[in-house]
């Protein structure tokens, strides 16, 4: 069908703040959808409360409402805008729920707003457990025995009838919040009570557990004409029982033969047909490892985290196509954006393997319950692409940015006894992969590990192969052994850890042995059609290099997985940096490994390298592309942390120099900088143990603020008032992170504020000073920020401005930086981040200035004057804007609440 010409103006609902289970992937999907609709000539009205996204950029939609996603607020916007249609299926569960509310409240009828995409009846049929079960029975698709209950007694009776274990699935909650597996009656009492209370309709599904089956997902699409395709089949490394968001996932499926694969594909397509889906849909299935029996687990009638992963894994832009289907176009009318010569009605063929590994927040939330189950706990994810499972998996490990020792040794930090390890393998945590390696290290057989973990042996064989290679690296490092290790994805750091040599030595050996990667293209069609997708991954498997250097290029480093302290804001700044580079007439190349984000959409940059953000992989790309330089200041701490070693490797860093970065990052240099400029800083010191801490603290003066030095985002910091509290804190911190220094600073009670500064290396421009509502001691990322500030005097503001200018000039800032202050008896500086900060999207949106783009222009050699900016602090607007953090606490059952308790 041709596109719907009866509508002109479409409202799109975004997914709101980033929370566990609903993260950056919705920024990616939403941005794609808006762009896709505008391509078709529609006027797009976007409603989303999250300022930190690309989606809420003024360039994405015709009009952006940064307003709350509530019935009241959205109703008002709809009344004002009177759109012809509403598209709710691209804003995650939030968007869907809101559409249901708007419909129930009669708002859609009142303003004659047509709902686009998958209809509400479908959404209800897919989400309501009972209706869904009925539908599956109607179309002869098998589902595990289950019963919908509204009270605990019914749950217990049913479980008694079908036998334990049972799965508790609360209705209408996101990412399975409140659910779990109950092995016995006691557990069901606990989980059932929680589930019922968390479901907005006090409803849970009690279901026969099929834990231990293979978990398979299909990302499928259907159009109004009834044409259906399967974009991607993904196989979970972990069996049913662990939320797919918390499981390692590979694509395409690995252990299914064609018969099983086609059976599941057919089931998935039958379901979307029965549901009359118009757009994208995720179908989760369980395959019995010992027979051809399968069950349908659930269906998500919208784009999701899995669809973002499938898009990146295949190159097929699901959200973009889903938006076109929503306005009436059929798959066989939509051009395939990859080949440009064929249509969207086809199924991608992969000639590589991808592995996704979830990124968990337990490094920050050390006291939280780490056990994995049906409720998602990961905050983000990374993806590795390779020619073997081993290569894809190890590249993903290298992208995780967890404790380096784990990443390189592939073993857990703490040594477990055999009993503990057995227990861990049957009670999986975020450490699962490394615990399996630990079992292999003890020569446990694949069979034994398979029995304990229920993981499909093919994956365990791959891990065993990795372990065998790792062991052989402990002997003579021959060229052929090195080549083998590189081909199967070992990073130089991993080889160094396995062989006891330094990374530098390995690097030299690799060069001597003439081992270098080639880059292969992701083209959706396994080379069958000529494509020019600028989307590449590396492999050390010898062969043709398909990536030709662009010339006149600049490499932008992304920020890796979403984690506490480093969220979607850094993807926003990365994308803006790329756009500014392109506007200046240069080629922009992105290196990143996060499949959820806008920056890893291959249409954003001139070239995307989907690679780990390590010195090794960046250098391989630099050596090939010979760029004019590398920009590190928009990729969060991830990119900044690579600066020193890139410079050592001879890379030209564009923007603030390494020396300038060091001046702000190195504690001693930073102190010198402030002293030299007569800028006040709370007194502080570093310590390794309690005795020292106890001796230093009175000298610094109680109350003191204490925090582990390595922690990004400043989680786990606390204010303590006396030696007892100090001892308590140090004890916990040492347990959480042994052998890590602890920072102790005098706690200055006052107003905390921060400013981003932009500089061309000579003059400094300050877009505005933000004031934090909470007092000092609360991490800036966790506090509410206001602009303009409400409590600062003009004099205080001037003092802040003058300090900011001094620091900017002193470190020769080129591009942008972020400075944090406490205003008390005088203005103290507590921290300088030599990079774009999480406030950049917020400030950009409220000041109407694209700060990251301006910063990029400065990096490219423009002066503030060239850009029409006056040095000094910008004039404050009359209206007040507020940014509030959103916490995922209901999910993580945090133990570290010291932050609040000790205040």
């Amino acid at each position: 069908m041709p596109k719907n010409n009866s509508i002109h103006k479409i409202a799109v609902i975004g997914s709101g703040p980033i929370i566990i289970g609903q993260a950056a992937e919705f920024d990616y999907a939403g941005s794609q959808a808006c762009i896709s609709l505008r391509e078709e000539g529609y006027e797009v009205i976007l409603i989303n409360s999250n300022p930190s996204t690309i989606m809420t950029d003024d360039e994405i939609a015709d009009k952006v409402y940064l307003e709350p996603l509530t019935l009241d607020s959205v109703s008002k916007i709809l009344a004002k805008e009177q759109p012809d249609a509403l598209l709710p299926t691209l804003g995650g569960q939030t968007g869907l729920n809101l559409a249901v509310e708007l419909n129930d409240a009669g708002v859609l009828d009142k303003y004659h707003i047509e709902l686009l995409g998958t209809g509400l009846k479908t959404i209800e049929q897919a989400e309501d457990r009972q209706q869904f079960k009925q539908l599956m029975q109607d179309i002869n698709q098998p589902v595990p025995a289950s019963l919908t209950v509204h009270n605990l007694d019914d749950a217990l009776n049913f479980a008694k009838k079908i036998g334990y274990p049972v799965i508790v699935r609360p209705a209408y909650t996101l990412g399975g919040t409140g659910g779990g597996i109950a092995l016995n009656q006691d557990e069901l009492v606990k989980i059932g009570t929680r589930g019922l209370s968390m479901s907005p309709v006090t409803e849970c599904l009690i279901e026969k557990s099929i834990a231990g089956f293979k978990e398979i997902e299909f990302e499928v699409m259907r159009d109004a004409n009834g044409d259906k395709i399967s974009v991607c089949c993904m196989e979970n490394f972990d069996p049913v029982g662990i939320h797919t968001g918390d499981s390692i996932v590979v694509a395409p499926s690995q252990s299914l033969n064609d018969h099983q694969f086609q059976q599941l594909r057919y089931a998935s397509l039958s379901i979307v047909e029965a549901l009359k889906i118009k757009g994208g849909c995720n179908v989760q299935l369980a395959q019995d490892p010992n027979s051809d029996q399968y069950y349908i687990i659930e269906v998500n009638p919208r784009v999701s985290r899995s669809s973002a992963l499938a898009s990146k894994a295949t190159g097929y832009p699901i959200a973009k196509i889903a938006a076109k289907i929503a306005v009436g176009l059929d798959l066989n009318e939509i051009t395939n954006p990859v080949t440009q010569t064929t249509y969207a009605a086809f199924e991608p063929a992969l000639d590589y393997v991808v592995a996704k590994i979830p990124r968990f927040p337990f490094d920050k939330f050390t006291g939280a319950d780490r056990q994995l189950g049906t409720q998602m706990k990961a905050t983000g994810e990374v993806m590795g692409i390779g020619l073997t499972i081993e290569e894809a998996l190890l590249k993903a490990v290298a992208s995780l940015e967890i404790e380096p020792q784990i990443e390189t040794s592939l073993l857990p930090l703490t040594k477990q006894t055999d009993e503990e390890l057995s227990f861990a393998l049957t009670h999986p945590t975020d450490q699962r992969l490394f615990e399996i390696f630990s079992a292999l290290d003890r020569y446990w057989s694949v069979k034994k590990i398979a029995d304990l973990t229920k993981i499909t042996p093919i994956f365990l064989h791959k891990l065993a192969h990795i372990w065998q290679l790792k062991n052989s690296l402990g002997g003579q490092l021959t060229s052929s052994l090195l080549a083998d290790a590189k081909q199967y994805g070992f990073s130089n750091a991993m080889i160094a850890a396995a062989s006891g040599k330094s990374e530098l030595q390995i690097e030299e050996l690799i060069v001597q042995s003439n081992i270098a990667p080639v880059y292969k293209m992701v083209d959706t069609c396994a080379g069958e059609f000529a494509s020019a997708t600028p989307y590449f991954y590396s492999s050390f498997f010898p062969g043709e290099n398909e990536s030709k250097p662009l010339g006149k290029s600049i490499i932008v480093l992304g920020s890796g997985p979403i984690r506490i302290g480093q969220g979607v804001e850094f993807d926003y700044t990365t994308v803006h940096c790329v756009q500014a580079i392109q506007q200046a007439g240069y080629h922009a190349i992105i290196v990143n490994n996060n499949p959820e984000t806008v920056s890893t959409d291959f249409s954003i940059s001139d070239k995307l390298y989907f690679e780990p953000l390590t010195t090794e992989s960046v250098m391989n790309i630099v050596n090939l592309e010979q760029p004019l330089g590398v920009i590190v200041q928009f990729g969060g701490q991830t990119a900044i942390n690579l600066t020193a070693s890139l410079v050592q490797h001879g890379v030209k860093i564009l923007g603030t120099s390494l020396a300038g970065i060091d001046q702000t990052e190195d504690r001693h240099q930073f102190e010198e900088l402030l002293i030299g400029q007569h800028i006040a800083q709370p007194k502080g010191a570093t310590t390794m143990n309690l005795e020292e801490a106890a001796a230093i603290a009175p000298h610094i003066g109680y109350p003191v603020m204490v925090r582990p030095s390595f922690v990004l985002g400043g989680r786990a910091m606390a204010v303590v008032h006396n030696e007892d509290e100090l001892a308590n804190y140090v004890d916990k911190a040492m347990k959480a992170a042994p052998h890590q220094p602890i920072l102790i600073d005098h706690y200055v009670a006052g107003i905390e504020c921060e400013a981003d500064i932009l500089s061309d290396g000579h003059d400094v421009f300050i877009p505005g000073i933000m004031e934090h509502l909470e007092g000092s001691g609360i991490h800036s990322g966790d506090s509410i920020a206001m602009y303009p500030s409400q409590r600062l005097t003009d004099q205080q503001k001037q003092a802040i401005e003058s300090i900011a200018i001094k620091i900017g000039k002193q470190v020769h800032c080129v591009g942008m930086m972020n400075i944090q202050f406490i205003v008390a008896d005088q203005v103290y500086v507590i921290e300088v981040n030599p990079r774009a900060s999480r406030t950049v999207p917020f400030m950009s949106k409220i000041t109407g200035q694209h700060l990251a783009k301006i910063a990029t222009s400065l990096i490219m050699g423009n002066s503030l004057a060239d850009l029409g900016l006056e040095a000094g602090c910008a004039k404050e607007p009359a209206h007040v804007s507020i940014k509030a953090p959103v916490f995922s606490f209901t999910k993580n059952y945090l133990a570290w609440t010291a932050l609040y308790l000790l205040k």
Partner: protein
């Protein structure tokens, strides 16, 4: 042990030998883009005398599964894969062991994507897989010699398959049939008798068929020109269905022409638009030739389906007679099950015919 793939244009790819390592292979080099179904492809007689490359890098993951073979043996000349998987889950035979038993040589550890792109650019090429690279000057001579000595033919069946309460009896003319076609016919309630394509009309007539199915098979359809009179005779008497080569032969028998595609369609993701319903389905395909649309003008043939990517003909029907054919593989195995309706359509034709004659 090293292995070399020499192409007629002089390009050489090297890799590691597996399967029947001592055997030399020669034939057309083709690629298949399926991510599952290597076993079904390797045993598909349509690949007879071709060197089969898989674009998916990990082949052999689930070994050789019982009852999935599409014919009694593997008649392709060789199997080329990026990475051979040797650890298999259950107690299945590995691909390596099985190919050894089948006397089929293999090569792994080569850049199959580079090879695929080469074929895409230069078209299907003659190739020799050997333990030594072949000198360019020697190539054609050696290819000719090998062609005579190692060329294979699919074993044609002469078998009957009964189902309980069969509604129809279908005689399948075998050019190198995939077992799944027989199974699909049985699934829709047909008893099946398979006869070699060299069988004459009388011998088919005595089998008393309700319908005739022309099977898939290897090679250029024009080499089967001797079989066209049989088809012309059969279509006057029985409803006919053709699959793949059978589709091309039906077209030739009715005055159309075929031509060679640049590099063929071999994979499980080929979109086909069915013109009667305007639906697009995903199909399994394996063919190097296609029916020329310009040659249909003066024939009784009409196009019923086209490929979504290159608009080549995927389905035909006769207007005056009950005959339908598809270029793709509705029987799947390997591949999507989207097209199994073809067998119901064939049954419909047989139903109508019964009514006409009743």
């Amino acid at each position: 042990m090293k292995k070399y793939l020499t192409l007629e244009d002089g390009t050489i790819f090297s890799g590691t030998a597996f399967g029947a390592t001592q055997i030399t292979a020669a034939g057309e080099i083709v690629f298949n883009t399926g991510m599952t179904g290597y076993q079904e492809a390797i045993t598909d007689p349509s690949y007879t005398n071709q060197l089969l490359t898989f674009t998916y890098p990990l082949i052999g993951t689930y070994g050789i599964v019982k009852d999935q073979n599409q014919s009694g043996s593997s008649t392709c000349q060789a199997v080329l894969v990026r990475h051979l998987e040797t650890e298999v889950d259950n107690a299945n035979l590995t691909l390596n062991e099985w190919l050894k038993q089948q006397y089929v040589p293999g090569m792994c550890d080569l850049d199959t994507r580079a090879l695929t792109k080469h074929i895409r650019k230069h078209g299907t090429l003659k190739a020799i897989l050997s333990n030594q690279p072949v000198d360019h000057d020697e190539f054609l001579h050696m290819y000719g010699v090998l062609g005579n000595s190692i060329s294979k033919q699919p074993t044609l069946q002469h078998e009957s398959y009964q189902v309980d309460d069969a509604e129809f009896h279908v005689v399948v003319i075998d050019y190198g049939i995939k077992q799944a076609i027989i199974e699909e016919l049985m699934n829709v309630g047909c008893s099946v008798t398979v006869v070699p394509y060299t069988t004459n009309f009388k011998d088919i007539e005595v089998l008393n068929p309700d319908g005739i199915l022309l099977s898939n098979g290897p090679d250029d359809p024009n080499v089967y020109v001797d079989t066209l009179p049989l088809i012309q005779e059969l279509e006057q008497s029985y409803p006919i269905a053709g699959i793949c080569l059978g589709h091309q032969l039906l077209a030739l028998a009715n005055g159309a022409k075929t031509y060679q595609l640049p590099f063929g369609h071999r994979g499980l993701n080929h979109p086909v638009k069915l013109l009667n319903t305007n639906q697009t389905i995903m199909t399994s395909q394996n063919h190097g030739f296609a029916v020329d649309p310009d040659s249909l003008t003066d024939t009784d043939l009409v196009v019923t389906a086209v490929e979504g990517n290159d608009q080549t003909i995927e389905g035909l029907a006769l207007q005056q007679l009950p005959a339908i054919s598809v270029q793709f593989h509705p029987e799947a195995n390997p591949g999507p099950l989207d097209a199994t309706n073809f067998f119901h359509e064939f049954k419909e034709l047989m139903h109508k015919e019964v009514k006409v004659h009743a």
